[in-house]
Amino acid sequence: MRRSGRNSLLALGDKYRIYILVVVVFAFMSLLAPKFFNVFNFKTILNAIAMNATVAIGFTVVMICGQLDLSIGTVITFAGVLTLGLQPILGFAGSIAVAVAGGALVGLFNGLLVSKAKINSFIVTLGTMTILQGSIYQFSGGNSISVTTDQAFAISDFLGKNLLPLVTPRILITLVLVVIVEFLLRRTRAGRNFYIVGGSRTTAWLAGIATDRYLVAAFMLSGVMAAIGGVVSVLVSTAATLKLGENSLMYVISATIIGGTAMSGGKGGVLQSIVAILSLEMLYTGIILFGLGNEVKIFFAGLILAYVVLYEAYAVYRHDKTLGQRPELMNELAERKPAAQGR
């Protein structure tokens, strides 16, 4: 633990650094990358992140609770495939409902195993990820699904219509969800309880908080958000490829950690994660605009994740080394050192 006051600037950094980062990235790209600073590009960026941003909402809450949900990528694809695949039978309303319910169910399953059976969250979600992977292929027969009815195109057009220069209904949906969840996290007792559960399950339990219920709720939220992300995405593109959610896990984990939410839990926020996704996407877009290919982008994305994971692990490593120091002895030694050297 550090002394009060000395590190408050650094502490500020943890929470707000992503906002500084996004400004820096934006400025850098605007000034140096060709064709970056225009409305069309911004709109492309916003649309590109809409899906992952939605997913990040739920994923961030899971991470705030100190857990991980590795199944989000497959839930996205699963929901997308269900939406279009079931549309002929149930209509859009029905298939969307099934897709979202499916996401909730997966979340319920994950949450129960983590809280009641006390299995590590990454083991559990690794398992559900694999099960879903198989289900996706089974359901779709290995092919992409598309729906080409007039209704489908109408929905797609609607979601892509410009309400304001940069805002389409699709982006609006994400925005609204972000605002709601962030608000609930910051301003309701239940929202703060997620943080306490993540900060220390014992503290939460001692305070009378039903930790199991919160864990299940977090995973269900993650499942639902991933599902919504997939649903909206396929509604816009009217096609569900089996690679829909392929890269999402990597993006969302990196962004969430960069945004200031730690894997250890207890801190962070949804808005921060979204801003981080925005920063990353601007970075990637800039890379493409610089003329470097898609491959460079993927390489960078992986590198960023690796760096972020390493950074967090290293920070814990450094901290553990100084655990247990007595403050007054530190001063004593510092005072004596010059005298000792004179010996």
Partner: protein, 514 residues
């Protein structure tokens, strides 16, 4: 049954707690009045912590009665204890580190306006609670950004938020500096004024004499006496804590002590201990005695290569110890029996033989091939020597009793045939029989020429086994005592030091108040 004494916030009448094989608390009765600071002292194993756990509601099977504010209370669960107005302040804090002070203080009951949080009121409430312990911090800071001392005060504030009538504090000062202790005492003074009864559990006699009104001494699970602090002297308390010296328990055999073999000079580790210097001889058992927080284990970790010293030298047999890892030190003959056998010393899921051989894996291997058979005679011999029960090398260690587990741990380090063996609390939580076996083994080891460093809070053990004892206090070696000078009383007094503390109450800013 005695009648409830009026004005009593807490009364324990003939309470007892049994565990399989021992009686931890044996027919103890005492009472604490409102507005009183009542100290509870006793050695390790005297029953203080069990008594404290009883108050915390950890047991539902104690016998006897506990009355709070005159009313009978069944403290069968932590929630019940809290509801009856008991607040516990432990050494390990129960705060969530990444969470803000406000949310830790008001966890689960953050004030609301309608469905949403009332942040202004939360902040105000938090500031109020902080003020009650004399802290003027920004309550939106996370716990991990404030000092250890601040966090402890926050913990107190949190407990106070439940409006307890009885506060139980367990060794609150072991990690604090002078000024911090003073501030804590001021707060305690405040709490007294508010009529809260405080049970103050501690080893530190000078503090008890400063802060407590009465003191109850426990020994071997029984209450020895309760007396006002003003009417008793330090020596008398120590005598009560220690009782008739059990020196007869230890028959000291003659041991020839050889030349100096282990020499430590000017050893310091920033923030943990400073300027430690001593010599130890062949065949000698050197004790290291000190209260909790003195830095003994930290010193041991440096002496065995686990941590690195910032200054100073360690010499074995005239040559400086080479290398920087524990394996290097181990190879050169320095072994360390760790304090916590369950998490640091043994792999409890593995069998006895795996554990006994776990420190000498390389020694038993030829070109990388490990031969368990080569180690088997050693294992069998040690099982016999230490009377490990059941004498089955394939038995999982986790299923042995505490005493036998400790014997396995000792066997492991005996198997390493060290030149210097550092023992850290080798008989903690161990029954009498195992204790005697372990002591006999330690003596045998010294007789065979090993240099033994014995870190222990068990005073009879130190007195009975050691040829000399170094007293450690707050990171320094302050004194060396020969066998002839050692008695439990003298050791305890020395460990408590002689530093008088007479500073007035000061607030965080250094301004006197109260």
């Amino acid at each position: 049954m005695s009648e409830p004494v009026s004005g009593c916030a807490l009364e324990m009448r003939h309470v007892s707690k049994r565990f399989p094989g021992t009686i931890a608390v044996d027919d103890v009765s005492f009472e604490v009045r409102a507005g009183e600071v009542h100290a509870l002292v006793g050695e390790n194993g005297a029953g203080k912590s069990t008594l404290m756990k009883m108050l915390a509601g950890s047991f539902d099977d104690y016998t006897g009665e506990i009355a709070i504010g005159g009313q009978l209370a069944l403290l069968h669960s932590p929630t019940l204890a809290k509801r009856h107005g008991i607040g516990m302040i432990y050494q390990e804090l129960s705060l969530a580190r990444p969470i803000s002070i406000t949310e830790n203080l008001l966890a689960g009951r953050l004030p609301r306006r309608g469905p949403f949080l009332d942040k202004a009121r939360a902040r105000a409430l938090a500031k109020e609670l902080l003020a009650s312990v004399g802290l003027d911090l920004d309550p939106s800071l996370p716990i991990e950004d404030i000092s250890q001392h601040g966090a402890q005060l926050v913990e107190i504030a949190k407990v106070l938020g439940n409006k307890p009538t009885i506060l139980v504090m367990d060794e609150p000062t072991s990690a604090l500096s002078h000024e911090e202790v003073e501030r804590l005492f001021c707060i305690i003074g405040d709490l007294k004024g508010r009529g809260i009864a405080i049970v103050y559990i501690s080893h530190h006699l000078p503090e008890i004499f400063r802060i407590a009104d009465r003191v109850t001494v426990m020994r071997d699970g029984k209450k020895i006496a309760t007396t006002p602090v003003a009417e008793v002297s330090r020596e008398e308390i120590v005598q009560m804590m220690v009782g008739r010296s059990v020196k007869e328990f230890y028959r000291r055999e003659e041991r020839s002590i050889g030349e100096v073999r282990f020499r430590v000079g000017g050893l310091s580790r920033l923030g943990f201990f400073h300027g430690v210097r001593f010599e130890a001889r062949r065949g000698e058992i050197l004790g290291i005695c000190g209260l909790s927080g003195a830095g003994r284990t930290e010193l041991a970790k440096v002496l065995t290569g686990l941590d690195r010293a910032d200054e100073g030298s360690i010499e074995l047999d005239g040559k400086p110890v080479r290398g920087s890892t524990m394996a290097d030190f181990l190879e050169q003959g320095i072994s360390y029996l760790t304090e916590d056998r369950k998490t640091e010393g043994l792999a409890v899921r593995l069998p006895v033989d795996d554990n006994v051989l776990s420190a000498i894996v390389d020694r038993l291997s030829l070109a990388g091939i490990f031969s368990k058979a080569r180690g088997k005679p050693r294992v069998d011999r040690l099982i016999g020597e230490l009377s490990i029960y059941p004498p089955d090398p394939s038995r999982t260690v986790g299923n042995l009793s505490g005493g036998n587990q400790q014997k396995v741990l000792l066997a492991k380090w005996l198997a390493s045939e060290p030149k210097v063996l550092i023992l850290d609390e080798p008989t903690r939580g161990v029954d009498i029989g195992a204790k005697m076996t372990i002591h006999a083994s330690i003596e045998k080891l010294a007789r065979e020429g090993c240099t033994v460093l014995l870190i222990s809070s068990d005073l009879p053990e130190l007195v009975g086994l050691c040829d000399r004892v170094m007293i450690m206090r707050k990171g320094h070696f302050i004194r060396e005592m020969q066998y002839s000078e050692c008695s439990e009383e003298s050791l305890l007094l020395a460990a408590n030091g002689d530093t008088g503390r007479g500073a007035a109450c000061v607030d965080p800013e250094g301004r006197p108040h109260g």
